[in-house]
Amino acid sequence: MCWMCEAYGEEGKRWYLNPKNHSRQLYTIKRGRKESAYGTDPETLAGLEQRKVTAAKWEDPENFPQLLKEYNEKPREGGCQVLPLREAIQVAEMAYPIASMMCICRKMMRADEETNPDEYTCTGLGVGMFKWERWPERYRGGVNIMSAEDAKEWLTKMDKKGFVHMIMTFGGSYVGGLCNCDYPDCAQIRTRLDYGLEPALMKGHHFAKVDYDLCNGCGICVQRCQFGAIKFEVTTDRTNIDAFRCFGCGLCETACPRQAITLVERETVPALKEEW
């Protein structure tokens, strides 16, 4: 079972679709802790911890496997998971407020400056959005608060662009962010794919499956995959998706003009059940 659902889910609901984890109360509890100074907030600390492991790959290659093993096995608190557009839309119906904002990963990786709502790519959820102006030193301050309907349209636009949706908590179970990102600029995707840090980004609750009768091998889905799971199989003249590499983002599904790709629940297939 998905450990996040085990810890924060309820009555078979996914953790991010459990209204409790969107509760303002949780945010208050979290804020009840000591006010974090720049660089000591939970998000930064988690990032620095991940960095210690990833940097070891080239700084201390001998100890890297051991450090990685320890990181993957230690107890977790909060996390980040891939989700398909249709579930991101369900989250938009549940979370309040919801706002678009700049992406910190792209800022750091490509010095990309998203200065206005037309350029924003990240989504923030919950009451924290009301206070975002307080952190211009980190996030440039501005957010664009959206109605649920606008947020759904916005997420669909991000999906069309080809961004993977990821939902994350900021300390404990409080759902705070819904990223739209890609490889290699997303720190979470990259940390998982290139270094194998499993808690950095969990696979989603689905995997993509091709209907070989409907697929005509047009290849549109191949360029949408950020995880290297899709290949064009020359032999069969069809798309081939490796379910073990698939993270279940559904970008291939939303792009397929023939509806030949469906998302299947991971937990209905024996050998994928524990693949997170």
């Binding site: 990833t54 750091m108 600029d185």
Partner: protein, 82 residues
């Protein structure tokens, strides 16, 4: 054990990396990262002020030592050791 390249950054010659961003954009392997080192609460860090942002080689294990960054750097702040 695999040998990884090292990119040496001469910080004196790289005062405003977030404003310049040439190597960050040019790198085919996206190994660079830029982050603020001067942080004032409630104030956005000025990217044009020297020394406020710093460049780092975050994902160096992915570096191919191709030299594209050295080529685009307008101040000669980067060199590769391999």
């Amino acid at each position: 054990m695999k040998k990884y390249p090292r990119i040496i950054i001469d910080y004196a010659k790289c005062p405003t990396p977030f404003d310049c961003k040439k190597c960050l954009v040019a790198c085919p392997q996206a190994i660079f990262e830029v982050f603020p080192v001067k942080v004032e609460k409630f104030k956005e860090t000025d990217k044009k002020e020297p020394g406020t942002y710093q460049l780092s080689t975050f994902y160096l294990d992915k570096c191919t030592a191709c030299g594209d960054c050295v080529e685009v750097c307008p101040t000669g702040a980067l060199s590769i050791d391999y």
